[in-house]
């Protein structure tokens, strides 16, 4: 046993400890920053580069166009981005599993058009009943596609490609069978759904909501930290908690301030936070919670990294994947409802084929991995904002749609290239 008695500490060089979450290792602020910097160099860059990128793009556009940094435009940009953000959050479920869902656009549209058709004349259902039926339809479609993918072992790419075509056809059937649809348009006839995007809360309500949310966040953070400390577990240094909390509060205050400025005209003032912003926030928190705090979420990440390891751990892989596809379609339904609310109607010409590509792009630009196992709801949020900022800014510069498409494509390529490069450099997930 002479071999085995050599000091185990010698078995690992410090350099082998790459890519660690800083909050895992650090006890003090300088420690934390050092670990964080090491982590960025190691490839696990987190959300920072994309936020910096977003700021750089914004500075560029505001230098080029005085209309860019007006509160009217900024709020408009946020509202424009919500549909792609939500569709990206839908796609995230598939991406985490190392799958893809090409059908999210049309599946969402089928659900939203069913809901809108039921709510409007001649059916005239209560708004929430129509929504529930529409979203349930989405969920079932997702479960159906997920079942085919997992039970028949057909690649998700193929099944959802068929879905991309098939659900577009079903969408046309929905419009054909709705007596209230005129000229391929179903109008949003309900004030509550209409107000989701076009309605705003009062400025005071916006501030109150912000204070409540920040306070809630602070209380939860303090509670969790103190519970961990009481159990003798490592906790991030207090300074980090305070800095994070401060950043969240400042970002929220800026957002509410911009939204609360008058962006109407003198005779018809408009101000306040559009309801769709807290709506996206709720979906974000719900998805984060599901992915980070439940078994279902944990198993999705496990399957995304190694289906074999998950299977050997006794996880019912097929069931989890089916649920993920169902959740993906359900979230797509929410996205399409927001789409209908923003435009005041949903039309037969809904371009689900293009939107799904934007959704994948949003998730990947934001930092989710195309290779599975990585991605958080914040990623499609950030990526969706980047896409919306590009679209918005380039439109202000009078660049054509063609130019905007090329620019978005370039950003997507860069994001995917970064993802692939980091993988090779040994980010967790590269294997060994």
């Amino acid at each position: 046993m002479t071999d085995a008695e050599s000091t185990p500490e010698s078995a690992i060089a410090p350099d082998q400890l790459v890519v660690l979450a800083p909050d895992v290792l650090a006890d003090s602020l300088p420690d934390y920053l050092r670990a964080w910097w090491k982590r960025i160099r190691g490839g696990e860059s987190g959300a920072l580069p994309i936020i910096v990128g977003l700021i750089v793009i914004s500075i560029f556009f505001s230098a080029k166009s005085s209309a860019f940094l007006t509160s009217t435009n900024i709020v408009n940009l946020f509202v424009q981005s919500t549909f792609i953000i939500l569709l990206g959050m839908a796609e995230l479920y598939a991406l985490i599993l190392s799958e893809i869902d090409l059908s999210v656009g049309f599946v969402g549209a089928v659900g939203a058009s069913i809901a809108m058709a039921l709510i409007s004349a001649p059916q005239n259902w209560v708004w929430w009943a129509g929504l529930i039926v529409g979203l349930a339809a989405c969920f079932l479609i997702g479960a159906f596609q997920g079942t085919i993918i997992t039970r028949l072992r057909i690649p998700s790419f193929v099944v959802t490609l068929a879905g991309l075509l098939g659900w577009q056809g079903v969408l046309i059937y929905v419009f054909d069978s709705d007596k209230g649809a005129v000229g391929g348009v179903i109008t949003v006839s309900n004030n509550i759904i209409d107000d989701l995007v076009s309605g705003t809360m009062t400025p005071a309500a916006g501030w109150i909501l912000l204070v409540v949310l920040v306070a809630l966040y602070a209380v939860i953070t303090v509670f969790r930290t103190s519970r961990r400390r009481a159990q003798g577990l490592t906790t991030p240094p207090l300074s980090i908690t305070l800095v994070t909390l401060g950043a969240v509060a400042v970002a929220g205050a800026v957002l509410v301030y911009i939204c609360n400025r008058n962006r109407g005209i003198a005779t018809a003032p408009v101000s306040g936070v559009p309801w769709v912003i807290p709506f996206v926030l709720v979906v974000l928190v719900a998805q984060s919670f599901l992915l980070a705090r439940t078994r279902l979420g944990r198993y999705m990440y496990a399957i995304g990294a190694s289906p074999e390891a998950a299977r050997r751990a006794g996880i019912h892989v097929a069931r989890i994947r089916t649920i993920a596809f169902a959740l993906c379609s359900l979230t797509a339904g929410l996205a399409a409802v927001v789409y209908a609310s923003r435009l005041g109607s949903i039309t037969i010409g809904f371009d689900g084929g293009t939107y799904v590509l934007y959704a994948v792009a949003a998730a990947v630009i934001g930092g989710a991995s195309l290779f599975g196992g990585y991605g958080k709801p914040i990623h499609p949020l950030l990526g969706g904002l980047v896409i919306a900022t590009l679209n918005n800014g380039l439109a202000l510069l009078n660049i054509t749609t063609a130019g905007t498409d090329v620019a978005t494509a370039a950003v997507l390529l860069v994001a995917v290239a970064v993802d692939a490069t980091l993988r090779r450099r040994g980010r967790p997930g590269a294997g060994g």
Binding site: D3, A11, L20
Partner: protein
């Protein structure tokens, strides 16, 4: 093989794949709380043996006894229910999850229906401490950031967590350097000193003689020698592995 009844016993186990006789009437016994090395050349039937024990490939004929009673192992779940955990060379870890998450994968602790990270972290830390795994800086680091030996440690800790009575390790040191091999051998010793039986499949006779209490040698699907490590020396084992017999000693086998 003197003391007590064996934990696991294979009696006349054969495995046939079409025209290929992969195992031919193997009588193998694994004592409790000891380290058994299963050695043999490529194609001798080591992998088939462990896959039979772990339920992936049920035997064509013969009997498996677990703690003296006949056991029917037809699936990996059967094996796990008995307390047999197999650690394959690929380790079956999720690179994107951290050490704690991997150790509890499929057996997460819940609190109000949600993942109880604190409880899992505490228990994982204790298990690793019991195994004297001290080289990881934080049990919250993703498994992808670990060295080969550390990954092996996590896989072993995962097995310990599942209250395994027999841990089968397939070539645990094959891909490791000298220092890391030492780390893993140390871990195997620790495991058996805690009362867990370990069966190590290995090519490396240095490792075998460093940790094994008992050696079983397979040659072309037959068990040609089995006995306490003191009955063997490396040259004798090589003879058995390559020719199925040895003229150097008579008491082994």
């Amino acid at each position: 093989m003197a003391e007590g009844a064996p934990l696991l016993e294979l009696r006349g186990v054969s495995k046939v794949f079409g025209a290929v006789q992969a195992l031919n009437k193997v009588d193998l016994s694994v004592p409790p709380g000891k380290v058994t090395a299963l050695v043999g050349d490529n194609g001798a039937g080591k992998s088939v043996t462990i896959k039979t024990i772990s339920g992936l490939w049920p035997p064509t004929e013969g009997q498996i006894l677990w703690e003296g009673a006949p056991a029917h192992i037809h699936s990996p779940n059967d094996a796990e229910a008995l307390g047999i955990t197999t650690i394959y060379q690929d380790l079956a870890l999720c690179d994107n999850l951290d050490i704690v998450q991997n150790m509890f994968l499929g057996h997460e602790k819940l609190r109000f229906g949600l993942l109880d990270e604190s409880a899992m972290e505490i228990e994982a830390r204790k298990t690793l401490a019991d195994l004297h795994v001290t080289t990881v800086r934080s049990i919250r680091q993703p498994v992808a950031s670990l060295s080969g030996g550390q990954r092996q440690s996590v896989a072993v800790a995962k097995a310990v967590m599942s209250a395994a009575k027999l841990v089968i390790m397939d070539e645990p040191t094959a891909a490791l350097g000298v220092a890391q091999t030492a780390q893993v051998l140390d871990l195997i010793e620790r495991l058996s000193s805690q009362g867990t039986a370990v069966m190590v499949v290995s090519h490396n006779l240095n490792d075998v003689f460093a940790v094994a209490d008992q050696i079983s040698v397979l040659y072309l699907g037959r068990l040609v020698a089995q006995g306490p490590v003191s009955d063997f020396d490396p040259q004798v084992v090589v003879d058995y592995m390559t020719t199925g017999q040895s003229t150097r000693t008579e008491d082994a086998g």
